[in-house]
């Protein structure tokens, strides 16, 4: 699934099937969805008929009308080819998913209400119904989407996520969702089916990848209207030109008018529009994100505010030791060594981080074998301390008040520098961990939520894009504020409850902002549903996955940033190619108009600034250029225009320069080159 490798459109696996599909797509009933290319096809048919007439009457124009007809067909074919190529890349992925899905068998429990009776009947997965309880045992493939109601098992989800490490699935909590097509590799699960066969996650994925369910997104529809409108405008201009030309003493042939029409209507963007959308979805899929609709991807480009969970997204999620603060009379190294010993048998992330810090900062070594008589004191909720008795030393670490109690002190009697250190840590949003040996206080370890490296830069990039980041955390406001400022987020919601998240989203939306968020728990579901872009983690609950409009198969919350970029890329590519397409028309006029009227008004030859060889070669060159530019831009349409987080104004001036000005100039050069080739080859 997660093949990031670039697939070249020239590879036979893509090229040949795409060529076949491109021909199938010439069917006018399919093509009518794309008005610009449909018009091109109608015109191509018309010119073909004229060519056949010319051929029968052996008219001299036969050579010309034949070549025009040929290139008009190429124009249509290139457009359908672009779409076919875009679809082709997804099709291979869909095939492999389908293979995994075939012939699944479900073990439906005969007596689901009896917890101890595991008798089952084997039925095909396709006949499962919502609410059926099934049993999935070792090496079984999950026959459908569902929720674990009993048991714990490790499940290999690589068929969906591409991640080979197995994950734990268990009843209750946030890890209860299972997906059809995944494999249980240890233990067993009882699962309640939650989705009808044919609508499961894998089915939806296949449909999406194949583009079968593809609907035009709102912006695509609006753009299609613009393109259809422009097509109509040029239709009017070309049809009326026949009358104007007749007045001026020129009898324009249908082939020539057809050529003019097709070069003027926005065939470039018309031909590539659907390919851009499909390729965008495909890019998302290769990022291991499945969107339920193109609409959601488009909305991602518009996101103004990003709601991110602190834990796991902004911070590593575990508090880690960041410094040792000894009291007067104790060296830092002594404190480090003591707390290292106290943490030796502490397998929590905090404990391990203390060991790691002590090792790296003070190059202390961990004794390989603990001497006899060593006792580890495990953490308990009552004492709230842990530690070790080793070689007569009784070292303890734990919550400040608990450790103070252990040494027989309280806050008023503790050393002033100890209190100062504790307060400073609390103020900075960290957690102080007191350390004592026997009845002596040694100092404090500063445990803090460590912000992931590089995250601050990503937020800065988002800010440059005009996107605010909001951190959501269950921490108290002090802690939250400290981490917020360290990570560089714009706002935070502390002590957040699901209701608060929902309220925050609503408030932002009323203010006219679009919100994206990610979540995995059932309690995130309402907020995921309310957000404009809700990204659920594949590892999350079924409720969360249903509520969001995208699922991240890697369960990586920072994905939101890439999703936003892909959304923006799709829109930018559309806009850039539309601009390019329209700007192209200027040069085409300069090629064709003087050619049309050279006989009546030789003076108009002054407009032939490209110095094209003959009227016929000028018209043919414009048509050829118009067709070839579609092919030339297929890679750009599939790859997308590069997005840089530099702010709207800078992006616009760059794209206007490249695609606007470039679109004005490029065809002058291109048509001239084609004309030289046409003349050299003696096509006219």
């Amino acid at each position: 699934m997660s093949t990031q490798a670039k697939i070249s459109i020239l590879s036979p696996a893509i090229f040949l099937p795409a060529l076949r599909d491109a021909v199938i797509k010439l069917d006018p009933r399919q093509l009518i969805r794309n008005p610009v290319i449909f018009v091109t096809e109608v015109v191509a048919v018309l010119v073909t008929v004229i060519f056949v007439q010319d051929a029968f009457s052996a008219a001299a124009e036969m050579r010309f009308s034949g070549q025009i007809a040929l290139w008009l067909w190429f124009t249509v074919l290139f457009a359908t080819f672009a779409e076919a190529v875009a679809e082709g890349r997804g099709k291979a992925q869909a095939e492999s998913l389908k293979r995994g899905k075939s012939d699944l068998v479900a073990k439906k429990l005969r007596f689901p209400s009896d917890a101890n009776n595991r008798a089952f009947e084997s039925i095909p997965a396709t006949s499962l119904k919502i609410g059926d309880i099934i049993l999935v045992e070792v090496n079984d493939l999950m026959p459908g989407d569902g929720e674990v109601i009993e048991g714990v098992a490790s499940v290999n989800e690589s068929a969906i996520t591409g991640e080979s490490a197995p994950v734990i699935r268990e009843a209750g909590g946030d890890r209860s969702a299972v997906t059809g097509g995944t494999q249980v590799i240890s233990d067993w699960l009882k699962v309640r089916i939650t989705t009808k066969p044919g609508e499961t996650f894998v089915d939806r994925m296949i449909a999406l990848i194949e583009g079968a369910k593809r609907q035009k997104t709102p912006n695509e529809i609006a753009l299609s209207i613009l393109l259809s409108g422009l097509t109509l405008v040029f239709l009017i201009a070309v049809v009326t030109l026949y009358g104007l030309a007749a007045y001026s003493g020129t009898d324009l042939s249908v082939a020539v008018l057809a050529a003019l029409l097709v070069t003027l209507i926005p065939t470039t963007i018309g031909g590539l529009l659907s390919a851009i959308g499909i390729a965008g979805m495909d890019r998302l899929i290769r990022f291991n994100v499945i969107a339920t609709s193109g609409r959601a991807v488009e909305a991602a480009g518009d996101v103004d505010t990003l709601l991110l969970d602190k834990t796991g997204t902004i911070t590593f999620g575990n508090r880690m030791a960041s410094e040792f603060l000894p009291v007067a009379g104790v060296t830092e190294k002594y404190l480090a060594e003591a707390v290292l010993l106290a943490s030796l048998s502490d397998e929590t992330a905090e404990g391990r981080s203390i060991v790691a810090l002590a090792k790296s900062d003070f190059s202390l070594s961990v004794p390989k074998i603990l001497p006899n008589g060593t006792t580890s004191i495990a953490f308990s909720a009552q004492t709230r301390i842990s530690g070790i008795d080793i070689e007569g030393r009784r070292i303890r670490k734990g919550a400040v008040d608990a450790v103070l109690k252990f040494v027989g002190l309280d806050k008023t009697t503790a050393a002033a520098d100890f209190n100062k250190a504790v307060d400073a840590i609390a103020r900075s949003g960290g957690t102080p961990l007191a350390v004592a040996e026997a009845d002596r206080l040694l100092g404090v370890v500063h445990l803090k939520d460590v912000v992931k490296p590089g995250i601050k830069e990503r937020f800065a990039a988002l800010r440059a894009m005009g996107i605010r980041t909001v951190m959501v955390t269950g921490d108290n406001p002090v802690t939250a504020a400290a981490i917020a400022s360290e990570a560089g987020v714009d706002d935070f919601i502390a002590e957040a409850t699901p209701e608060q998240k929902l309220d925050y989203i609503r408030k932002e939306q009323v203010g006219g902002r679009l919100i994206a968020m990610c979540g995995d728990g059932t309690n995130d579901a309402p907020a995921l549903a309310q957000a404009d872009v809700g990204v659920a983690m594949q590892s999350g609950t079924q409720a969360a996955r249903e509520a969001g409009n995208m699922v991240d198969l890697d369960s990586s919350p920072t994905k939101l940033i890439e999703i936003v970029e892909i959304g923006k890329q799709i829109l930018m590519t559309r806009g850039s190619l539309t601009t390019f397409s329209i700007a192209n028309d200027v040069a085409k006029y300069f090629a064709i108009i003087p050619a049309l009227f050279l006989v009546t008004y030789p003076e108009l030859g002054a407009l032939n600034i490209m110095g094209l060889a003959s009227p016929q070669s000028a018209i043919l060159s414009a048509v050829i250029f118009n067709a070839l530019i579609i092919v030339a831009l297929i890679p750009l349409a599939l790859r997308g225009v590069k997005y840089r987080p530099v702010g709207a104004a800078a992006l616009l001036s760059r794209n206007l320069l490249v695609y606007g000005l470039g679109g004005l100039i490029a065809p002058f050069i291109g048509i001239k080159l084609v004309d030289m080739a046409v003349t050299a080859l003696g096509l006219i």
């Binding site: 912006n219 209207i225 405008v233 007045y247 559309r574 006029y589 108009i593």
Partner: protein, 569 residues
């Protein structure tokens, strides 16, 4: 071209720019219902009208209701004017005893004035009674202008409001536009014109004996008042046939300045009003910059082409230093004729102080092209603003995508519905202009009216339909337009150009007003910066150019090259 010429052009434009802010702010107050310094005087009058007509000022209309109001009012105005013109020989104030107008001429004229076009198939002083001029044409000069302003204000409100359906009350907007804006300004300008020597009377023509001893009939009438509203309302229908080239309409260089300033004032200020009402004055200035830059380019192009003159005339011994002076008034000169031509066509005014048909081919191309761009520089009162906003929506749609967001203008998302109606509106001009032109140039009933065959004849017809569809009203000259075919089709072109454009615009307003207003961020495409100004100019020129380039190539462009090759038409 000369420095003094450019100084004059600069002077007029600067005066207009100085007027923009105070007038724009004043209109913003008028249309948001705030008190103005005229309220003590006009308030009772206004309330009197509402009481008389049963208008409830607190009851606003959605886009459909507003549109119905506009259409019903215009239809009523059309019927009244048509009847008056047909029956003027039975009505008072007809000292010359002019006959009633023919059906096609009355249709054409009524359509012309109701649509704020003021295309004149008739010669004013030889056709119209004083009553027809004052109570028929002048009334429409006011209310058709006020209708345009009302629609522009309704569209403006679509950007101001969010989550509602109401665009305002058409009857209130219409009344306020007439009473608070057009009427006071018309009085001031009319008095200024009287001071400059324009006639203002209800007399019949009088006969004078010239110094050569010849008898000459001199027409007079309520010229100053008609002239004032003709310019302020960007109507352009002159009292006299030759319009503002006539010494009684435009006697001096100073009256010429005032004419141009009066033409530009309200249209330009309305753009400022837009910025003020949407809470972004920079947006107003950005749009004004678009119009001013294009106006200067247009003026410069005409000025250059005319100063360059006609090489054929130079060849036969005409002093080339004066440029092409055919059809121009010596008292205005090249610069002010160029500015007048650019403004009158950039603005949907249509009055002229020089004969456009006598401009050099390229000089004549510019006014035609400015109209084909859709009258946005800054266009007719109101109609210019809404047409400009339609272009802004189109520009934002394509360019907005290039910043990686779905397009929005002033926080309002531009989606399928807006695009549909914007394209419908944009289609009208090419459909009407090119469609009717193509028919006219191939049919005998069309070509028989042409004065000069060849490309110039094509220009004559193309210009006529362009002028009609764009609701400009200026004529190229040459074409005999007072025929049943031209009167009827030009009338239809005017009606379509006005109403088939205006209805989609109000539909866009109806769609936008219900949308929430999105907050701006640094990721939002800024529409009040120079980049947008340049972009909008590009979109307007390219869109207009692409539609009409083939037609223009066969008219003025080929004429230009043929002239350079030594042949004239």
């Amino acid at each position: 071209m000369s420095l003094s010429g450019w100084l004059q052009i600069g002077f007029v434009l600067i005066v207009v720019l100085l007027l923009v802010k105070p007038l724009g702010l004043y209109m913003a107050r008028v249309f948001t219902g705030e008190r103005t310094f005229l309220s003590p005087v006009l308030g009772p009058v206004e309330r009197g009208f509402y009481a008389l007509a049963g208008v409830r000022t607190d009851k606003e209309q959605g886009w459909l209701g507003y549109t119905m109001g506009v259409l019903a009012f215009s239809l009523a105005g059309f019927v009244v004017l048509y009847s008056m013109l047909r029956l003027q020989n039975f009505l008072p104030l007809n000292p010359q005893g002019f006959a009633g107008l023919s059906p096609d001429l009355a249709f054409n004229t009524a359509a012309s004035f109701v649509t704020n076009t003021n295309w004149q198939s008739y010669g004013g002083e030889t056709t119209m009674s004083h009553l027809s001029q004052m109570l028929g044409l002048t009334v429409q000069n006011f209310v058709s202008a006020a209708t345009g302003i009302a629609v522009a204000i309704a569209l403006t409100r679509a950007f101001v409001r969010s989550g509602v359906n109401e665009l305002g009350n058409f009857w209130v907007d219409l009344t306020r536009a007439t009473l608070y804006v057009l009427l006071p300004l018309a009085i001031v300008v009319a008095l200024a014109f009287v001071a400059m020597g324009l006639p203002q009377n209800l007399d019949a023509n009088f006969v004078a004996t010239t110094i050569e001893g010849v008898q000459q009939t001199i027409a007079t009438g309520p010229v100053a008042s008609q002239e004032a509203i003709k310019q302020l309302g960007t109507n352009g229908g002159g009292f006299f046939n030759v319009n503002a080239a006539h010494p009684f309409e435009n006697p001096t260089a100073f009256s010429n300045y005032l004419n141009i300033i009066a033409m530009l004032a309200i249209s330009a200020a309305l753009v400022y009003t837009f910025g003020q009402m949407v809470g972004n004055r920079r947006q107003g200035w950005a749009l004004i910059s678009v119009t001013v830059i294009m106006l200067v380019i247009g003026t410069g192009a005409i000025y250059w082409a005319e100063s360059f003159g006609n090489p054929l005339l130079t060849a036969v011994g005409v002093d080339p230093s004066m440029g092409n002076f055919e059809g121009k008034e010596v008292r205005f000169g090249q610069a002010m004729s160029a500015l007048y031509s650019a403004v009158t066509t950039g603005l949907s005014n249509g009055g002229v102080n020089a004969m456009h048909g006598s401009l050099t081919p390229l000089g004549g191309l510019v006014p035609m092209f400015l109209m084909q761009l859709g009258e946005v520089l800054p266009g007719g009162v109101g109609s210019g603003l809404y047409a400009l906003l339609v272009f802004a929506i189109l520009a934002v749609f394509v360019a907005g995508l290039m910043v990686g967001r779905t397009p929005e203008f002033l926080g309002k998302k531009v989606e399928a519905r807006e695009m549909k109606f914007a394209m419908l509106a944009v289609l009208i001009l090419p459909l009407v202009i090119l469609g009717f032109t193509a028919i006219s140039v191939v049919a005998d009933f069309g070509t028989s009216s042409i004065l000069t065959p060849g490309p110039h004849g094509l220009s004559e017809i193309l210009y006529a339909y362009t002028s009609a569809a764009a609701n400009n009203g200026s004529a190229f000259g040459g074409l005999t337009a007072n025929t049943p075919w031209y009167n009827t089709t030009l009338g239809i072109a005017m009606l379509l150009g006005r109403f088939a454009y205006l209805v989609p615009v109000l539909a866009i307003a109806g769609s936008l007003v219900a949308k929430p207003r999105a907050a701006a961020s640094s990721g939002t495409f800024p529409t009040d910066k120079p980049l947008f100004v340049g972009l909008l100019i590009g979109v307007i020129i390219i869109l207009g150019g692409l539609q009409f380039f083939p037609a223009l190539a066969l008219g003025p462009i080929v004429e230009h090259f043929v002239m350079l090759a030594g042949q004239s038409f």
